[in-house]
Subunit: 340 residues, 2 copies
Amino acid sequence: MVNSKPYVIGIDMGGTNTVFGIVDARGIVLASNSIKTRKHANINDYIDELYEETMRLVRQLDVEGKIFGIGVGAPNANYFTGMIEDGVNLPWPTPIPFAQMLSDKFGIPVAITNDANAAAIGEMTYGAARGIKDFIMITLGTGVGSGIVINGQLVYGHDGFAGELGHVVVKRNNGRLCGCGRTGCLETYCSATGVARTAREFLELREDPSLLRNIPIEDITSKDVYDAAMAGDKLAQKVFDYTGNILGEALADFTVFSSPEAFVLFGGLAKSGELLLKPLRESMERNMLSIWKGKVKIIPSELKEADAAVLGASALGWEAKSANSTMAQPSSTAPAAPIA
Amino acid sequence: MVNSKPYVIGIDMGGTNTVFGIVDARGIVLASNSIKTRKHANINDYIDELYEETMRLVRQLDVEGKIFGIGVGAPNANYFTGMIEDGVNLPWPTPIPFAQMLSDKFGIPVAITNDANAAAIGEMTYGAARGIKDFIMITLGTGVGSGIVINGQLVYGHDGFAGELGHVVVKRNNGRLCGCGRTGCLETYCSATGVARTAREFLELREDPSLLRNIPIEDITSKDVYDAAMAGDKLAQKVFDYTGNILGEALADFTVFSSPEAFVLFGGLAKSGELLLKPLRESMERNMLSIWKGKVKIIPSELKEADAAVLGASALGWEAKSANSTMAQPSSTAPAAPIA
């Protein structure tokens, strides 16, 4: 097939920023930009701004009429239905028929999946997971997301929602309240916001000095905790130990499910380096069922944070037409589109 | 292809009994029998008895020379390597090159997988999971096993060991010691032995009267607890409530992984009926992430206990030749062999 529309748009809607880019069939992000996800109280205003800013890039690159499809990664987005359902981190009422709304606005076919699934596709196609058929992508951002790949296929589950590992309950008793309405979910501890919450708890319950005591307690971010820990602050380092320990327990549990060759860590918190990785590895190994001890890799993402999700989403864009018409199970590998 | 060997042998090695049967291409178990798994301290004596008893059935049916292959479900058996590795519930030193040993003894190709995977294949091919592409089989026997099916494919993971859900940690603090050497594993609570342990704990810690107090405490079995509960014993009923509650928490967590349409329960404890199912359903729904509330079925196995595992194992028997020669990923659906 000769492809007269050799570009796709990849859109990654995060809890804070929405990043979008124009991608060619080689996986090169030719241009990208972002808008604030929470700026507009009305979803239509958000879509209008997203359309204007995306089309600005399209015009700059002079690729109007050459866009094959749009792929979107968004919280709780369902590949099968095209809906964003029960979005715990978004300002708009759910469910949102997002694929249809975008398709109506852009006049281009749209396929969506959750942001972590999109990142996993990006990592598998262009990143640290190239050649790995069984891995689990863990995204450590505002929340904790995941994309599970088994035998080279992204796991969607029977309804399209599989891979919500941020909502595995890691504390049965006295767990933190989660945005999902339950308590003790992994993401209340091991996300960027979870790290900040842990720091606040430590500052209240402990008495040792800390650089963090110079910051108003409600203003503390995971970045503040990281900076303090890197400056040698013991309390801040303990926050990362605590976080890594819980995440390690969880990854050991996840291993018994699908026996992945690796976990790929992605997102702001994954850039904390050994501060997080050392206690994480130690905890994962200590809690691992013996047959897997020393055998499961933890790999930080190799892709630039924005690129992985945009690339992954864009890979879905190549399937947008068939996905919308047949709801077929996608291939989760590189786009079949020819090099233009 | 004309199949001149239209029968397979299915072998299900459990922690207590090893059940074996001769199965035709329609999935009819023509004859079956069992031996005690733990009778022989030496694995070779076990294999000798298994061979003698299986060949007795073969001779009775007059199907010598017509056996296509042998499929085996066994604890910690690895489909990829043919080994039983790190078997926590077996009396012999591990690893055991079981596929090779059986193949040498019988002179027939052998394929093995873990017993819960074999049961899942049996359930998918002939039982309650027919037509269901995403389900998780939970076997509640001496331990807790699982077979995970995603998009119609059994999940083996990158090393063949996926689906050890009995070893998810459900109690982080003060958990029970598990045969795997760790503490707090699901199977220390929700297996037949777990139910007996819970009954012993309740009898020690509580003061209310119970029929179970008439039995020497170390002799109590899950059957005793079941009988007492059915006779109206409040303490015994509380044991099932406790068990169902923990299992429900676990199943809600498993749902976020692969979003199954159903859990299929199998094994002795699964036959406890509403005594277990009622607290289990209530707990699973109470702990379920909202998008799945009321949407995931719990289905007791429809197959006779022995048959499901033997049938599942026998289905593997049809693949034994190719599995041994190429280590190919199996199709997890019905045997492709023609009806003889």
